[in-house]
């Protein structure tokens, strides 16, 4: 299999601290409101406690990216060497089609530049031999970079509950699901 980089989101380790999301802002000094990486709390139908389990998501660098397919000006490309989906912002005309079409909400509209933008997987950092800013910042090692060509964790899932199943796109993110502790509730109030 060809090299395909992606994120491994370990929801069992993730503490929802938003460090990854803020590290992304720190790296790119984004305008307020522009979010490349968001930390999504799992709804209570999936994890029965409010805001206690999370998926940290950015671009999934899909095998068949919807953004790339639908972009009328061909502003997206998929790097052959590692499968990173790159948005070439200078070509973007701000039509919003990628934003509408990505099921994972990865591309965002930048109201100042009037163009779309999204997670670049820090390809410049990768090319310089560094981890992506979000991965480097994760205090619990819950967000890591994987190469699907060599990644072989049998426990990993591609479409856990809370992450839309889009098989045709084949997103490159893999997950480990959050777990619940044994919970001993107070007797006097329950």
């Amino acid at each position: 299999m060809k090299k395909q980089l992606g994120f491994y989101v370990d929801a069992k380790r993730c503490i929802g601290c938003f460090t990854c999301a803020m590290a992304c802002k720190n790296q790119y000094q984004q305008e307020p409101g522009v979010i490349w990486r968001q930390v999504y709390p799992l709804k209570e139908e999936i994890y029965p406690h409010h805001e206690r389990a999370f998926y940290s998501l950015a671009c999934n660098h899909c095998e068949h990216p919807a953004c790339l397919e639908v972009c009328p000006v061909d502003a997206y490309s998929k790097r052959p060497q590692d499968g990173i989906v790159v948005h070439h912002q200078e070509q973007c005309i701000g039509c919003g089609n990628c934003i509408r079409s990505c099921p994972y909400g990865a591309p965002r509209f930048n109201p100042v530049q009037k163009r779309a933008e999204k997670c670049s997987l820090c390809w410049q950092r990768l090319d310089a031999g560094l981890d992506p800013a979000c991965v480097a910042s994760c205090p619990t090692n819950a967000l890591t970079l994987i190469d699907l060509a060599t990644f072989a964790d049998p426990g990993a899932v591609q479409f856990p509950p809370g992450f839309p199943k889009m098989g045709r796109l084949n997103p490159s993110t893999r997950f480990r699901q959050a777990e619940l502790p044994k919970i001993i509730k107070r007797e006097d109030v329950s």
């Binding site: 790296q27 000094q29 984004q30 305008e31 307020p32 948005h87 070439h88 912002q89 530049q113 933008e117």
Partner: protein, 200 residues
């Protein structure tokens, strides 16, 4: 209109540290701008009111309505000491000028930029260099004209009614910009700002 005098007064107004200096700058604008001095200014109390209003809009210590720094409007991340601050300083440097304030007054503070405008005007009158023209064109069209309208719009959106002196200063600022743009050959109209791309 004696724009040099107006620009000096505007510069002094926006760099004023107290109400008295603000009133003095306003008086110059009144005298030069040929608008009738329709209100008594210069009274200490009036100076105080002007100073409070000025600080609410431009200085602080609270969240200011219209920060008078180019980078807040031009840099995509609305911060101080951004790329446009750097560009403003580079323009001064190209003119052989530097600010003695360093970080105490970020280089793209309105007062410093108006001071640079004055330098351009005087130098331009002495020296018909194409390079100077080009630099001026850049500073006016690609810098000042991109942020001053956004800045004045912010001032006009202030929640409280504008102090008349501030409103007049803003009017002079807008009028100067309009006149300056008209004076320049219309090669490229000031475009909506397109800040440099992010890392993508």
């Amino acid at each position: 209109m004696d724009w040099n005098a107006i620009l000096i007064a505007l510069r002094d107004f926006f760099s004023a540290r107290d109400g008295r200096a603000m009133v003095a700058a306003c008086a110059v604008m009144t005298a030069t701008g040929k608008t009738p001095p329709d209100r008594a200014s210069g009274l200490p109390q009036a100076a105080d009111e002007l100073e409070y209003a000025f600080n609410r809009l431009f200085v602080g210590p609270g969240v200011v309505v219209a920060p008078p720094y180019a980078s807040v409007y031009l840099d995509p991340d609305c911060r101080l000491m951004g790329e446009s601050t750097r560009r403003a300083a580079a323009v001064y440097d190209a003119l052989g000028l530097s600010s003695s304030f360093d970080e105490e007054l970020p280089y793209d503070h309105l007062a410093l930029e108006l001071d640079a405008v004055l330098a351009f005007r005087v130098l331009g009158a002495q020296d018909q260099s194409a390079e100077l023209d080009a630099l001026w064109h850049y500073f006016l069209h690609d810098h000042l004209a991109c942020w001053l309208p956004l800045f004045t719009a912010k001032v006009m959106q202030a929640p409280a009614p504008l102090h008349p002196e501030i409103s007049r200063a803003i009017a002079f600022l807008s009028a100067w910009l309009a006149a300056a743009i008209k004076d320049l050959p219309q090669e490229s109209l000031p475009m909506t700002h397109q800040p440099g791309g992010t890392a993508a």
